[in-house]
Structure formats: C-alpha cells, structure tokens
C-alpha cells in the first residue's frame, strides 16, 4: 500500500506532528500542506475554517493520500466529524489522541490543558476527555503568548522560561494536577521550559507524538502500512513563503526537508 499519508495544518505547527510521524513510521511517505498565508485559524469563524480546511483536503486528495491527519487543533475541533463522515479514507485529528494519552498516564485524574484561545474556548479537550471518562477534573488555560514565542525562534529554556512561568502560573495552584496536555501543535517546541516550570512530577503530553502513535495503530488496523522498499521523498507544501517555511522546518525537524513548494489552493472548487 504505497500511498502517502496526508497532513494538513493552518501553518507550521503541524510540523511537530510530521516530525513524529517520520520518526515513528519511517517507512511511510508524507505529504504536508500548511496554509501559512491564512494562519492562524484560531480566531476565524467556524464556517471559514471549514471552507479553508476543505480546500486543503481537496489538494491532498489529488495526491492520492491513504489517510488524513488534521494536525491543527482548531481545524480538528471544527471539521473532524464532518471529514470522517464524507471521506472514504481514515481521518484522524490531534485532540482525541492527546486526551487518551492523558487518561492513560494520570493517577490523580486532575488534568491541565493549554492551547490557543480558540481551542480552549471550544471545550474540545474537556469534551473528548469526559466522553471517555467522567471521573476527571480538567483545567483549561489559554496561552496566547506561546505561538509568537515559538515562531520568533526564542524557544530555549533560558530565553523562554520567564514567559512560560508567568503564563502557566494559574495551573500551579492545582496541587493534584499530574498531567498537562499541550493542546496546540506549536507547544512541543517549548517542551523543556514547560517541563521545568511544571516540575518533574507532571506528565507532559504532546499531541504530535500521540497522534503519530494512533496513525500507526489505524494503519495496522486497516492493513494500510507501506510494504514497498522504494526510497521515500516527503513533500511539503505551503500557501505562504517557501523560504520562511524552510527556515522553520529545518530548525524543528530531525532531518533536512528537501521538497518544499509554494502552492495556491483557494481558487479551487470544493
């Protein structure tokens, strides 16, 4: 089954998911599309997010993807159910894998979630958590400072610790909290300062890692693993500047990204 896995994101954040897919599924080819020119999706109305997401999906369907990952929390919250219903290929979002991993590791059943204002206000994480287990306490906190911090490149512990500490202060009041979900695909880049501020006893859950794990599970379940031994070329597309995308990708990813191409998707019919 030598067809690629498609990954869509509102911009570069989903590269943390792509990085994990490449690490955990080294035999699979990826095609990534980041709608950087219209990023962020967080503050946009639901209907607009749905329209933009459908345009991204149409672009990837023409590349004959065998599975779609919505590597954007906002787009997952607004379009996952719709896309699962309408597409004939498996569709996975980033919210449920993060929720499931948190339920697996928590002992106190006291869980924090950080994300953009849009994701936190949507209650998508509490909904996903409570749909699996009602015996939980969930604390949501939006951290609007974090995406600009990551995109600025100042993500070392030294450069970011003060901002991270200030932002996470409200969560420190919950003494029982033992698990924190990074509910935005940018945040794994801040993993180390977040772990330092929260302390070693708090489990930090990265949606990217968990989503890659579930993609692997669905590929096995559906018999869709790539069995060919041909060399892979991952393809990365952006609706914005190739140069900026390349700079960020090469800073975040474990291996250099060769194929990066700017594309136009918004003149397509749905």
């Amino acid at each position: 089954m030598n067809r690629p896995i498609g990954v869509i994101d509102s911009g570069v954040g989903g590269l943390t998911v792509a990085r994990e897919l490449m690490r955990q599924l080294p035999k699979e080819q990826l095609i990534y599309l980041g709608d950087t020119v219209r990023c962020p999706y967080g503050p946009r109305p639901k209907e607009e997010v749905i329209t933009f997401t459908k345009q991204m999906v149409n672009f990837l369907l023409k590349k004959d993807i065998k599975l779609l990952v919505i590597a954007c929390n906002t787009a997952t919250a607004f379009t996952l159910d719709l896309l699962k219903e309408t597409l004939s290929i498996p569709v996975l979002g980033v919210i449920q894998p993060g929720a499931r991993a948190a339920i697996k590791v928590t002992e106190t059943k006291d869980i924090g979630v950080i994300g953009t204002v849009g994701t936190i206000e949507s209650d998508a994480y509490p909904d996903a958590l409570y749909s699996i287990s009602e015996d939980l306490t969930v604390h949501g906190l939006s951290c609007p400072q974090f995406v600009p911090l990551v995109e600025s490149g100042r993500f070392s512990v030294e450069a970011s610790e003060d901002i991270v500490r200030h932002a996470l202060e409200p969560l420190k009041a919950y003494e029982q909290l033992d698990t924190l979900i990074l509910g935005c695909t940018h945040y794994p880049i801040l993993h180390d300062p977040i772990q330092k501020v929260m302390g070693d006893k708090v489990n930090i859950i990265s949606s990217g890692e968990e989503t890659a794990r579930e993609v692997s599970a669905i590929l096995s379940y559906q018999g869709l693993h790539n069995e060919s031994h041909e060399p892979l070329t991952h393809e990365f597309y952006t609706t914005g500047s190739e140069e900026i995308f390349k700079q960020i990708a090469n800073r975040w990813m474990d291996q250099p990204i060769e194929h990066i191409e700017q594309v136009v998707i918004d003149d397509r019919t749905e």
Copy 2:
C-alpha cells in the same frame, strides 16, 4: 452503543489487560473469558491454539461483543490475522500495541523483549517491530521462570528480585538498550522488580496499558464508545476453578470482581 468489549486469554494473565481497560475506559462493559483449564497455550501446537481460541470467540460472540481483545501473546501470534479476516467486529491483539509504544519511546533504537518461550520463538515481536521500522536492534529473551513466580503470588520486589535479576542478566550486556517490552500479560505484575533490575533509564512497556489505549482509539475511530449511563456489571468467565480465579483477580485488580462464573466451552461447534 451499549454492547460489551470481549477479552479472551489462556488464563489469568489477561486480567492485567482487563484492569487497564477498566481504568482507561470506565464507561465500557467488559466480558472476560480465561481458558484456565487448558492454560498455558505457549507450549501447544498452533492448530490446537487456533481451535481453542475459536471456541472462546464463539462463546463471546453469543454475548454480542462489539470488539474483541486477544489478551494472550501466543493466541495473538497464531490467530490475530485469521480472526481479523473472519469476524465482522474489530479485533485487537497485544503484540502490535506493545511494539508501537516501544518505537514511540526508544531513543537508542535498541529494544529488548521478554516473554514465554513460545512467544520469543515465534518472533512475533521482532516481526511487528521491523514491519514498522527497520532501523532497530531487537533482543528477545524468554523468561520461563516468571509465570510460575507471578502465579505463586511472590511478586513483591523483595521476594522476586533475585530471580528477576538472574533471568534478565543477558539483557544487561546491551548497554544501548533503553526500552524493554513485557511480551507476556503476566509480567506487568513484576513491573517493579523488573524496573529495579534494569535501572531507571530503561522504559518498561506493558502490553496491557498499550492495548487498552489502542482499544480506546479504535472505539473512537469506529464510533463505538458506550454512550449510555446505565451502571456496568463486568462479567468474568473461567473454564477452571471459580475460587482460584477469584483469588488471583482480587489480588491483581483495582476493584473487587463480583461476577465470576465457571463455564464449559469445548463442547461447542465451531
């Protein structure tokens, strides 16, 4: 979707998987069947394991299960593909979830697997690991002392450390090894002595925890989560002594098991 999840095992080992299912999926009802009277399956010929497993599956299908977990490594190795092909409900084994979790956490890509002689000789774990990633080193080791140790009840660190240390000695030679898969459902009961012997830097992967996580993923993917709020009664069946099963279950599980019943399954037609 208020139908139960079915769990089959050659005996009591699968209770570690059931415990994790109850912890991670508290809204789901379980029906467990342990073929204790014919346990262990490890040394039996493949055709016999297939026949016995089919008898267990037939018993659970009459209980209208919505998903089947094969909580026995030997039965997974011999029957997973067959059952996936022939049943109309989702079927999960314990080998692939353990393999995937190991790939997710390893950094050195040097992985150990311990299990019964049958599981290690079947190469089921190396096959599952290499099917996902070829860039791994895998060391298998059978630990025939562990199942009797667990069933004898001497599983505290003090009582079992010497036996565990002696058994795992061959793995200590692999300095790069950073992940150890417990490839037998009895072994999570020995988690603490195994962790102590291997050291804090080695990630111990429990197939039960990982399988429960993937059951949750498949329930979400297929829209099969229980949405009713009726109280749940888990049902446990054994082909052997109710009394012995109850003693072990109440020592291992987080909550008392009420419904335990002895059944006969081998006079059924396939």
